[in-house]
Subunit: 151 residues, 2 copies
């Protein structure tokens, strides 16, 4: 997934930000690793390969900016790190992926499902709460770990 530089630049200008090499590179790393839920440190390591003089603080600042621009999503797997991944183009309504977290090997995978629509309208009617976004985490055992266990 390649980054459209001009589009990115326009998006930045629109909000009064400037286009920099650092911002582009961070976005590119995330675009090249879809569904990889990288930590800031992991992004930093990958960015440093081609840009050894970038600072970790810049990665943190950039990631917050990209979040504001809604170009990336934030995921919290409760392991002490905040993780980031590029936002899916299909996510028109700004709905996040759901995550499957394996309790044995720690592997994380994502899937999409729209069945929460029903739940959300139910919540609106029963409790008067208007749902804008949701986050679902399913904990359990992945296919590989289940198969290993059966041997």
């Amino acid at each position: 997934m390649a980054v459209d530089r001009d589009r990115f630049k326009d998006l930045l200008k629109e909000k009064g930000f400037k286009m920099t090499r650092q911002r582009l590179v961070v976005l590119e790393v995330l675009a090249e690793n879809p569904e990889q839920h990288l930590t800031a440190e992991e992004i930093y390591e990958r960015v440093k390969v081609e840009n050894p003089d970038i600072g970790l603080a810049t990665v943190y600042r950039t990631v917050q900016l990209l979040l504001e621009l809604e170009l990336i999503d934030r995921i919290n797997l409760d392991d002490g790190f905040i993780r980031y991944e590029i936002g899916s183009i299909e996510e028109k309504e700004h709905h996040r992926y759901h995550h499957l977290i394996c309790m044995r090997c720690g592997k994380v995978s994502a899937f999409q499902d729209d069945m929460l629509e029903a739940l959300e309208s139910g919540v609106r009617e029963a409790l008067g709460f208007q749902v804008i976004d949701h986050e679902v985490k399913l904990y359990g055992y992945c296919k590989d770990c289940l198969e290993k266990e059966h041997k």
Copy 2:
């Protein structure tokens, strides 16, 4: 919701732990504040009222112990704090509450709903992933904030 001291003591002994005043008091604070999703610091403040000589580190250690004993649940609202609440007695299958988080006032409320059962069996069949537990967070605007906005 009162704590059954003898039951708590037995549960501790079963795993080789000892019953202490501090552990009892922390559990009691959580039992007296159901669905309140307290941070360690908040638990500490409430515990200190009657036990001024307790340490914050003890609260942190106790909360981890209670988590191991599955007497309490952990909630992460992505605001930099880990929160805890007493486990519902009805939660036979160790399923957590779902949380509604207001994006305006920050209020958090909980609700229960079993509609994820269907999603979970679907995930099992389609992806071979066996779901043990789930966590759902719905972000949006609460009733009060919606009403204020309409004025």
